[in-house]
């Protein structure tokens, strides 16, 4: 069987990388500075080697909570939004510091779902992001939590990242998570569980696997990652879910090493 070489295994491709709070923080919820530093160095390196890189990053609420010394995860929407307002500025400060050391300029872009709904708004967002990429700037995107209300929210950054990948016709979306990929069963309870390396169709069987694996991990769990996969597959874009513990995995993927689960639309 000959597998066609994916589009992103070329020197110049457009890559969207999504990192979740679980990758950016310690288990106590405080920010993992070392991880962010490694991520910044990794992405700056990929950018230098010729790829276009867009980062979709969560973490604003976690950073805000740490900053205000909150011991518990906020529940009320207004409280989350207040924390996001404090935390997003701090998160960008930290990103800026590490990207600056790596010689890479970054820009913050906050999106809401209604900002990607009609064609005019889509064009506007696309133009801004494309212009940033042309200028050699690495956009860091997050949901505009402070103004998002129920109904206009992406709800989670996996879906946001997939929407951005579709908007920009990216070649690849990499979702860095605290799980290794999509398993056939829950790896915590089923020793026979193994990683599904390649998904070409979102079959009911795949959804069953997702239901049984890793829902307690991260913010969205595996089910919302499949929502993201649906968006990228419909847009003809490859998506990889893998563990973000070592951000160097990104350049390994771009060199052709298999990692986690690849969702690739059947031709």
């Amino acid at each position: 069987m000959t597998v066609m070489e994916p589009k992103w295994k070329k020197t110049r491709s457009r890559i969207v990388v999504k990192v979740g709070s679980s990758t950016l923080s310690y288990r106590n919820g405080k920010i993992n500075l070392q991880r962010i530093e490694q991520l910044a160095a990794e992405l700056a390196g990929i950018k230098k080697s010729g790829h276009e890189v867009i980062l979709v990053s969560s973490g604003a609420i976690a950073v805000g909570g740490g900053l205000l010394g909150l011991k518990e995860k906020p529940r009320a929407l207004a409280e989350k939004q207040a924390l996001a307002a404090v935390g997003q500025a701090e998160l960008m400060k930290i990103y800026q510091k590490f990207f600056d050391s790596a010689g890479q300029t970054v820009a913050q872009v906050l999106l809401t779902r209604d900002g990607l709904e009609d064609e005019e708004k889509r064009r506007n967002a696309r133009n801004t992001l494309t212009r940033l990429l042309e200028m050699g700037i690495l956009p860091i995107i997050n949901e505009n939590d402070t103004v998002s209300t129920f109904g206009i929210r992406f709800g989670n950054n996996d879906v946001l990242a997939a929407s951005v990948a579709a908007l920009l016709q990216a070649d690849l979306l990499i979702i860095l998570s605290d799980i290794n990929g999509l398993y056939t069963a829950d790896p915590r309870t089923d020793p026979s569980a193994r990683i599904i390396e390649r998904v070409e169709e979102l079959s009911p069987e795949i959804f069953r696997s997702a239901g049984g694996s890793g829902n307690a991990f991260g913010t969205g769990g595996m089910a919302v990652k499949l929502d993201a996969a649906r968006i990228t597959m419909e847009a003809g874009i490859d998506m990889i879910i893998t563990n973000g513990e070592d951000p160097a995995i990104i350049s390994q993927i771009l060199r052709g090493h298999p990692a986690g689960t690849l969702f690739t639309p059947a031709k």
């Binding site: 310690y26 288990r27 106590n28 405080k30 920010i31 993992n32 500075l33 070392q34 530093e37 950073v63 740490g66 900053l67 010394g69 701090e90 400060k93 930290i94 510091k97």
Partner: protein
Amino acid sequence: MKQDEMKEVLKIVVKVEISVLLDEAGRLDPGRMERLAMVLSNLANSGTHIFLVSSGAIYLGAQLLGLPAQPEGLVDKQAMAAVGQAELMKLYRRHFEGYNQTVAQVLLTGDIFADNERSGNARNTLNHLSRQEIIPVINENDSVSTEDIEMDDNYYLVRAVAGLMQAHLILVKGKEKNTWYLVRRGSPEDHEEIEEKKIVSRIHELAPRVMEEKYLNRPFPVMLPAEIIQS
């Protein structure tokens, strides 16, 4: 979660000698201080309590006043320390702020450790700061100390703070970039060189062992191993 119920937090006394923050020309290197702030903020974020013992007041005071770094008389030294300690804290505050880490100044004198009431008070203050997720920056109160306990590069103070706080580990910044030393309770040979990026993982790997009571009953080595002092 079980981890939150853990009453004991890993406590680390960090020793930073001003000489490890200087560039080749002998000036304070902002890059090194920035790095130090990042490494310690990250270690604190990972769920440990850090007590930073830092020298440098006399050095910075001399630099600000344009005087030689090794003043002769005690009074000169103390005047310089008064000027330099404020400068030292200003620099620490500026660099730690970049990582959202608050620091506080705590100046101690040797006699505190000999007095139960005063040492208890110092311990309460330091514990309180830790619980507020503030890193205390500790130095000898050079401006009022009459005897020089800074003789051995503050190691006396480091060891006294480690004893006072029942610290689990002492982390010493080495002279070379990226080089640190981890000193354990027990024999002086129980220390290891540690790369900067391995600090968090190594310390958390050691945590179960160094939090055992029989480990905590052992004192830290009286002298720092020669290898560390010379580095």
